[in-house]
Amino acid sequence: MKTSSFNLLHAWRNRGPLPGLGLTLGLSLTWLSLIVFIPLLALLIKAAGLGWQGWWQIITDERVLGAMKLSFGTALFAALANSIIGTLIAWVLVRYRFYGRAFIDALIDLPFALPTAVAGIALTAIYAGNGWIGQYLEQWGYKIAYAPAGIVIALIFIGLPFTVRTLQPVLENLHVEHEEAAASLGASRFTTLWRVVFPQILPAILTGFSLAFARGVGEYGSVIFIAGNLPYVSEIAPLLIVIKLDEFDYAGATVIATLMLASSFLILFLVNTLQRRLARGQAF
């Protein structure tokens, strides 16, 4: 038994061109177990303690469903907006040289570094009815802060670096010769962009999208300041988890957490599969 498994490992190891697979894989798995798998497993075990009926009751609760819809809806919308604006910003930063470029480039990372509560308070101050921007929007009948729109603004803020930063290296490695070839063969500027450039950067856009989306679904700190937190209207799922915890309903909280996790995983898995297909189709 022992020798056979050893032989198997040996054979497996020999196939790879690099040494050290056993060591590195072992370390990776141990690390991942401690940091990711075991906490997630603990979550599942805690949630499982509630039984099917308890699960069903929480999952079908209107307020929980409303919060989930809001969290996923706003995160999707914000990630979509970030994919478009982020692509544009990355394009500008990579392709053009202008005064202050380095400064703007450094600015992009700020949402990473800023404590999310600070971001939430700052955005609320600006977009509230008496804020710099909010007062004008209010005149036209648009309410941003203390409404779902405010959540989207906060999520766009914290998700922006993900889309810009995943796209920048890809754009930098793009061969300008392809575009020149397209142009010399008579393609219009739009056709060049759409048929030559876009397909090459689409996988990176999708990666940025999924990162921004995943970050947005779980975001708590900045959102609670700007959302208004009204049940059924502007109450996000992470807040419901905190509310359940404050009621000492740990099992209920873990059920919502598990539900969010499963939904996120499903969406990310789909996006990643799509992205991999696209990337494969691209390698001519």
Partner: protein, 336 residues
């Protein structure tokens, strides 16, 4: 070389002895949101007294946040020597869920372990443009009301119960009418913050809402911070006696050996100096005869219901109103 080592050893020994003589003790007070300024001053005052009495250096740290969240942190292992929370229910939870202190904790200190009380009042904008006089006005159409979420905020639970008590009296104990009133009130709430400080910020800095339902001390502090301009307090016809209790956390002080200093710290709140500091920070002293009548002027007399007499204690109130499926949840369900 050997001599140097000997010298060093002797020096460290004397230094060590010196350290043992003047001990440095640390104490952690886990408290709720609007007590920041109050305990800052209490800690300074008590540490000075303790140094004088025992010669030990006392370092008191205070942690502030939503009362329920703070209780949960203590249950989950935050090493609090004393807890000074917004309501007895939260300390009950620490006793019940964390088994960290005796279930009879509230009988250990005078006056239900409540050295200071407060009540719930309204903060409105100067001149009271929406003419808000009493609880009934908060349910009027067109009035915008700011209060935190009772699910996450201890202060908000006092707000909710005060409104409930008024409506019960107003409608002769008719529960359907009471609920309808609260439904209307909460339909006027545009933002449900998670804590009392958050609501104050929304009302004062964001200028949202016509009236803020708030702790009396928080309302007076808001006026003080604004330099006495911009806001005024409206005292309703009836309110609730808000009792934020204090307790020593047995398991923690026994392990850390800090019981003596922790008990002295809480007893300090019942001394003349402690009571005066409470009054200075807009809490109603539980022993008003220790405070000059001048300092008591800021606290108007009004009819107050209590949690024990009118709601059957916190355990019952929590189950009826704030638990999953309680009256607060129903109000939102029906308001849709």
């Amino acid at each position: 070389m050997k001599n140097i080592i000997k010298l060093l050893a002797a020096a460290s020994l004397t230094l060590g002895v010196g350290l043992v003589n003047a001990k440095e003790i640390q104490l952690l007070n886990v408290s709720y949101d609007p007590t920041r300024e109050f305990y800052q001053e209490v800690n300074k005052e008590f540490a000075a007294q303790w140094k004088q009495k025992t010669g030990d250096d006392l370092k008191i740290q205070a942690s502030h946040g939503g009362s329920g969240k703070q209780a949960r942190s203590v249950i989950d292992g935050l090493e609090a020597d004393v807890v000074t929370l917004a309501l007895a229910y939260d300390i009950d939870s620490i006793s019940e869920k964390g088994k960290l202190l005796s279930p009879k904790w509230q009988a250990r200190l005078p006056l239900n372990s409540t050295p200071y009380t407060s009540t719930i009042v309204f903060l409105v904008r100067t001149g009271n443009p929406k003419v808000i006089r009493d609880w009934g006005d908060l349910a009027r159409p067109g009035v915008s009301v700011i209060t935190p979420n009772p699910k996450t905020s201890g202060g908000a639970r006092w707000n909710y119960l005060a409104a409930w008590a008024w409506a019960q009296k107003q409608y002769g104990g008719d529960e359907t009418k009471t609920r309808a009133y609260l439904s209307k009130l909460f339909r006027n709430v545009p933002v449900l913050d998670t804590g009392a400080r958050g609501s104050t910020t929304t009302f004062v800095n964001r200028r949202i809402g016509d009236v803020l339902i708030a702790w009396e001390n928080e309302a007076q502090l808001a006026i003080e911070e604004a330099g006495g301009k911009g806001f005024q307090i409206v005292v309703p016809s009836l309110s609730i006696r808000a009792e934020p209790p204090v307790a020593v956390v047995d398991k923690v002080v026994d392990r850390r050996g800090t019981r003596k200093v922790a008990e002295a710290y809480l007893n300090f709140l019942y001394t003349a100096k402690g009571q005066q500091l409470a009054a200075k920070h807009h809490f109603r002293p539980a022993l008003p005869n220790l405070v000059s009548p001048e300092e008591l002027k800021a606290f108007p007399t009004l009819q107050l219901v209590t949690i024990d007499k009118d709601f059957g204690g916190w355990k019952k109130a929590q189950a009826t109103h704030f638990a999953d499926g309680g009256t607060f949840d129903l109000i939102y369900k029906n308001a849709r």
